[in-house]
Symmetry: D2
C-alpha cells in the first residue's frame, strides 16, 4: 500500500473552510457565449462564490439582457470593463475577483485594468496573444501580489491531481515518455472564426486554443517543464489561413521524450484530450472524456483502474476535492468547481494576510499562462522553420 | 434519421428562462450529512436557485454552525422545521420551496408542515415510511395544487431522458424485457444504521434505499408501470435485521417480463445502477457510473453509442438540458441540476398561474414517490410469503 | 503478491508433452453444421489432434461430400455411427476418441456405441435429453474407465481458469453472491427449430441450450454445486411452444445466493454470457465477449484488470494454457483448443496406464454433463409449479 | 444501408473450397522459438494445411527433438534449409510452401533457396535486412511467378479488412489524417538480443520489428502509400546501441498527413498497436488488443461499434473469413488462419493454373515486404539526419 493509497489528508493539507461567499464579476459571457457560463457554473458548484457583476457585452442592450439572465443587479451590469473595475473597486461589497472570458486579445488589457484596481484575476487561456503581454502580467502580478489564476480547466479534475501526485511520489519511476493528444472536429469546416484573426486570437489557431491545454496538462501531471519542440503545422480540414492541426515531437526537462498532437479537424472526435505517461516501472493513462478513471499499468502486474472517490487508491491531493463518493460520477463542472475552490482559498488567504502551505494549492497561475504563450510562439517558430527544434522553456531571466 | 436524431426543440418544448433566482430552504443537511449538500449543489449548478434558509439540525449549536457553513443569514437558521415553515411563509422574501433531506420517517410530517403553509416541496426518496403516509401526501398535493418533486436523481440524467424518449418513439419496438440492477458494497459490514431501524427507515433496508431508485428508473425509461413482483430478501453481508440484498422477478403493464436485483453487500461495487431494456427490434443499456453513454443495439446493425451533447443522435427532451457540449462530460451534479431546473420551472409557472405543456417537464412527483412506497410494501409482503407473486401497481382508487 | 501472481507451474502441474498426434472421429458436422467445425478447429489448434474419420451425415451423398470437405479418407467416411464405432475400433490406426456434435437426442446412443467399443468420448452439451440417460452414461463411464469429456466450451478460457483458481485460493474471501446471465437474440423470431422438438432437444429450449452453459460456468468458477432453484419460464420473442427466456433465483452449497438469467430473445445481444461473483472481500467479473480480461474488484482498492498472458497476475492453472503472450489476444477457438488439450492428455494417460495429478486437468466430465441434466429437469419442474423452490443437486446415490 | 452492410459475398468474391490439405514446411521454429508455432497454429486453424517438414534448427539434436514435438516424420526433419529445399522439391509429396520464421538475416537466402526449387514462400517480416535483398526477392518472384506471402499478421484480422473496405467505399470520405502507434514494453530492460545485432536484425531495432507492422497496417487500411517521413530515434529504456523508440511525422499519397509512433520500452503496455484514420466525414479506430471491434465515428451521429460476425454491418471482404458468429470472439490465431487461408487459395490456384479475381485475395506480398524495407531505410536515414523529411515511397523503377 503506497502513500497515495491512504487518502487521508494531514491537517495542513486539508482545505480551509470559507468564511464567506466570495463575489465574482465576469468580463465577457454575453448571450450566446460559451465559456462565460462554464466559469459561472464552476464558481456556483464550488459553493464558495456568487456572481454579482459583469461586463458581459460592450453593447448596452445585450449587456442588460445578459445581465438579467445572470440575475445581476441593474447597477452592476457594465458595458465597459474599465468602468466596472473602478466601480467595483470603490464598492464596499465590490467583487473579490474578475473572471475574464473574452476573446484572447482583450485578456491582457482587462487583466491589467482589474489588477490596477487591486482586484484578483481569473483568466481563461491562452493567457494573451503574445508572450510579451503575458510577461507583462507576470511582472504586474509579482509587483502587486494579487492572485492570478488561469483556467486550464482539465487540471481541476481530481484524477489529474491523482496522476500528478502518483508521479511525484514515484509510482511509475522516472518518467521516460510523455504523449499527449487533443482531437476535436468542430473546425473541420470552419473558414471564419475570431480565432483565425491574428489580432483577436494570436499567431496560431488550434495550437493556441487546445495545444495550450495539452501542453499544460503534460507539464502539470509530470511535474516537468517542456524544454524544446519541433512542430509541423497543417490544415487538414477546410482551407483556412492558420493551422487546424499540429504534430510535435517534444522534450521535457531531463531529456524526457514525448509527442504532442492536436487537431480541430479530426472528424468523428469530440473533446479527445488524452495523456499517457510511461516511466521506468509503469505508466498512467487519462482521458478527458472519461475523467473519473486513471489507468495505472505496472510492469508484470494487472492493470489498475483507479476511480475517483475516497478510498480506492486515491491520494490526499485528489481526495480533498471529493464532492461525490466513488461510483457517483463527477465531471467537467466539478473540475471547474475545483479550480474555483482553489482560487477562493488563495484569495481569502491573501485578503486575510495568511500564508498557506506551499503544497496546498496547485491551480494554474499567470506564470503557467506565460509558459503557454512561450509554447505557442515556439511552435509557430518551429513550424515556420521546417519543423526545426526550438526551445520552449520560459527562461526566468525573461520575466525579471 | 429518426425523430430522436433531430435534437431541435420545437418552441413549445424549450425550457422557459427564469425570471428570478428562486429561494430554497433545506430541511436536514447538518454537518456530516451526505445528501443535503448534494441537493444544494444541484440547485446551485442549475443557476436557478439560491439556498437561503435551513432547519439543518434540531441541535442549536450544530444548526448554527451548519448554517454558517451554508452562508445562511442568522435569522434563517432554524432548529425546528415547523418554526421554519411558519416563519418563511410569513416573510416577503420567504423560500419558494423546501428540500427535505432528512431520514425517511420525518419526510411526511415535514412535507405536510410546509405544504400547509403553501410552500412547494422537494423531497428525497423513499417518500415516506408507509404507503398510507405517501397517499396522504398525494391527496394533500391534489388539494393544494402545490408542486411536489421527488429526487429520484438518476432520472435527471440527459441520457436517461434520451432513453425514455427513444423507447416512447419506438426505437426498439414494443418492450419485451426489462432488467435493472443496483449493486453497492457499503453495507457489507454494516450492523447499525438508521436505515435498519424500522421507525426511522421503514419496513425494508436496501429495497427502500436503492430498490426504489431501480424501480423508478425502470418504469420511467420504459413508460410502463410495474404491476407485480416476487421477491426474495437476503442478508449476504454481515448479519443484520433486514435484507441487504433482494432479487425479484417482475411484471410490467402489458405482461412485460423483467428482473430487479439490488444489493448493498456486493463487495467491490460502488454505485452500480444499470438498466437494460430489450424490445422487438433492439435494446438499450445505461449505466449510472458512465452516465454520458447510452448503448443502442439494433438487430442486425452495429451497436450505437449515443453520447450526450447536441447532435450525435440526441433528441429534444435530452437536448434541452445540455450544459456542456458533446465530449465535455456531465455527471451526477448535472443530473441533480436538471431536476432542480424542472422544479424551478414548475414552481415559477404555478406561482404565475401559467400552465405548461404537459410534455415539458418529467420530474418525479409525489405520485411517483407513492408508487415507490407501494413497491416497497409489495416486495416486503412477497418476501415474507415465500416469494409469492404480489401486486405492486398503485390503484388510483386508493388515492381518491 | 499472492500465489496466483506467480505464474510458475510447479513441475507436477505442467502439462505433459504429447507423444503422438491423436486421431479424432466426428459424429455430426455435415455440411451446414455449426458446432462440428468448431470442435475440429479446437482440436486442430491444440496441435494434439488430427481429424481422420466421421459419420457426418446419415445421407450418403452429404456424408461423402462433407467428408471430402474435411479431407477424410474415403473409407473413413461413414453414414452410420454404429458402423463407424465398430470399424474404427477394429483398425490399428483407429480413432482415439469420437466427438459427438449431433442434436441432443442422439448423444446418448452414440456415446454408448463408442464406449462399448472402448473408444473415449467427447460430447457436446447438453449431455442427453433426460437425466436418466445421463446417469446411464455416468455409470457406463465408471464401469469402463474411459475418458468422457463434455464441451462446456467456455470453461476452456484461460481467464475462466484464472477466476476459478483465484476463488479457490481465497482472493475474494468466501463467496456470497453469484450472478450469471446469458443473453442471445437469435431465437427472437424462431418458431421452428429442432431444439423446439422435445424428442430431439429435450424438455426445454433455452434452458437446455445455454442455461446449461450458465449453470456450469457458475459452478465451475466458484467451485460450488448449485443446490436449489426457482425458475420462471417465459416466451418473450415470437410465440413458441417452449421457453425462450428463463429467470431463476438459485442457491449454491453453503447457502450462497444467486441469480441465473437466460434468453435467446434479447434483441440486440449476441453471445452475452457474463459471470459476476461477490465474496467477502471483493468480486470477480468475466464476460465471454471480451474473454481476455478478468475484472477483480477488492474492497477499498483500485479495480484490477487481469489480462491473459504470462505475468500480469495470472496463476499456474491458466498460465499453462498460454498460446500467445499478454496483449496478443486469444479467443473462443483457443478455449476449445484448451479443452482438446486436456482431453488429449487424459486420453494419452489412460492409454498408457498413467495416473495424472488430480489437480492437473479440469475439463468437464460426464458427471458435469449429468449435473446439467439435473439442472434442466429441476428448472422445468419449478417453472411448471409456479416457480417453487426445487432441488437441483445431483445426489450421488442416484448414480450408484 | 451502405454496401458494406450487406455481408453477402457475390459468387466471384467467395473463397473457393480447397481440394486437398496443403503441406507446409517450416524454416526456424526450434524449441523455445516464438513465432514458428504461431505460423503453425494459424496454418492448422485454417483447416487447409498440415505441417510435414522442417529445418527447425541447424543443431541436429535440437532439430530432431523439435521435429518430434511437431510430429514430423524422421526423414523430414532437416538441419539445413538447402537440403530441405532440394529434398522436398524432389518428393512426390513434397511441401507446397515453406514458412520462414528465422531471424531476419536468413530470410533472403532461405527464400531464394526454396524459390529456386520452385517452392512457394511465406516469410515473416521484416522481409530482409536490406532493401537491396528485398528487391532481389521481388525480382525473383516476378521471374518465377511463385506465390510469396509476408506475414504482416494483423492484416489478417476480419475487422482490419472491414476497415479497409469501408475506407475504399468512402465510409469516411477522403482520408485526411492517419495515426498509427505500436507500444510494447518487453525491451525496456533488454541490452542484448539478436535484433540489436545489425548483421542478424538489420539497421534498426524497434522500427524494423514493429514499425514495419505499423507502416503496413496504415497503408493497408487506407489504401495509400506512405511517401515521406521524418523520424526521431530514441532510447527510452535501458541503454542499447539502437533505437527502442521512434516518433515519426509521415505523409501518404495525396499529401495526407499522419504520425507513426513505436516503442518497445513503454512500460505497462503489451501489444498496443492502434490505428486511427480521420476522413472528411468521419473516422475509424482499431486496436489490436481488442480486435473484434471497429469504432466508426461519423460527424453528427452516434458512434458505431462494428463487431465481427455476419450481419451487424460487416462487408463481404471481412465476412468471408468468419469462423465464429458475432459475439463468439475470434482473435490473433484466427488472423493468422485468415492469412494462411489466402496463401492456400493463391497456391492452389497457381498450381492449377487458375487466375483468381484480383479483388479476391489481399494477403501481403513480397512487394509489401520490400516497401517495409524502404520504410526502415528511410526512417534510419532521416533519424541520422536530424529528422529531415525523407522519401519512403518504393519507386517501381527500382524493382525493374
Amino acid at each position: 500500500m503506497n502513500a497515495w493509497h491512504k487518502g487521508e489528508a494531514a491537517d495542513e493539507l486539508a482545505f480551509p473552510k470559507p468564511k464567506r461567499r466570495l463575489r465574482l464579476g465576469i468580463a465577457g459571457g454575453g448571450q450566446g457565449a460559451f465559456i462565460g457560463p462554464v466559469h459561472a457554473n464552476g464558481a456556483r458548484l464550488s459553493g464558495r462564490w456568487e456572481v454579482v457583476a459583469g461586463a458581459l457585452s460592450s453593447r448596452p442592450e445585450i449587456a442588460r439582457q445578459s445581465g438579467r439572465d445572470w440575475f445581476l443587479a441593474e447597477d452592476r451590469i457594465y458595458t465597459d470593463y474599465r468602468v466596472m473595475a473602478a466601480a467595483e473597486a470603490a464598492r464596499a461589497d465590490g467583487i473579490d475577483a474578475v473572471a475574464i472570458t473574452t476573446p484572447n486579445a482583450s485578456h491582457h488589457p482587462i487583466a491589467r485594468a482589474f489588477m490596477e484596481h487591486g482586484i484578483d484575476v481569473i483568466s481563461d487561456k491562452p493567457l494573451t496573444v503574445t508572450l510579451e503581454e503575458a510577461l507583462d502580467l507576470v511582472r504586474l502580478q509579482r509587483e502587486t501580489g494579487l492572485v492570478f489564476g488561469v483556467t486550464y480547466s482539465f487540471s481541476g479534475h481530481a484524477m489529474v491531481r491523482q496522476a500528478r501526485q502518483m508521479i511525484a511520489q514515484g509510482a511509475i519511476g522516472a518518467v521516460r515518455q510523455v504523449h499527449v493528444e487533443y482531437f476535436q472536429e468542430w473546425a473541420m469546416d470552419v473558414a471564419d472564426a475570431w480565432r483565425l484573426d491574428s489580432a483577436k486570437g494570436g499567431p496560431t489557431f488550434t495550437t493556441g486554443d487546445i495545444g495550450t491545454h495539452a501542453h499544460h496538462l503534460a507539464c502539470f501531471v509530470t511535474g516537468l517543464e517542456m524544454t524544446a519542440l519541433r512542430a509541423d503545422f497543417l490544415v487538414t480540414g477546410s482551407p483556412k489561413p492558420k493551422e487546424d492541426t499540429a504534430f510535435m515531437h517534444v522534450r521535457f526537462a531531463g531529456d524526457v521524450a514525448g509527442t504532442l498532437m492536436v487537431s480541430q479537424a479530426a472528424a468523428g472526435t469530440q473533446c479527445g484530450l488524452r495523456l499517457r505517461v510511461f516511466g521506468e516501472t509503469g505508466g498512467l493513462e487519462w482521458d478527458q472524456e472519461n475523467p473519473e478513471y486513471l489507468r495505472f499499468n505496472q510492469v508484470g502486474m494487472p492493470a489498475q483502474i483507479i476511480s475517483r472517490g475516497l478510498g480506492g487508491g486515491m491520494g490526499v491531493e485528489a481526495s480533498r476535492f471529493v464532492r461525490m463518493p466513488r461510483g457517483h460520477p463527477e465531471a467537467l463542472s466539478d473540475a471547474w468547481a475545483n479550480l474555483y475552490t482553489e482560487f477562493a482559498i488563495a484569495i481569502e488567504a491573501r485578503r486575510d494576510g495568511r500564508t498557506l502551505p506551499e503544497a496546498l494549492l496547485r491551480y494554474p497561475t499567470v506564470l503557467d499562462g506565460a509558459k503557454g504563450m512561450k509554447f505557442i510562439e515556439a511552435a509557430a517558430h518551429s513550424a515556420a522553420h521546417g519543423g526545426s527544434w526550438t526551445d520552449c522553456l520560459l527562461e526566468y531571466s525573461a520575466i525579471r
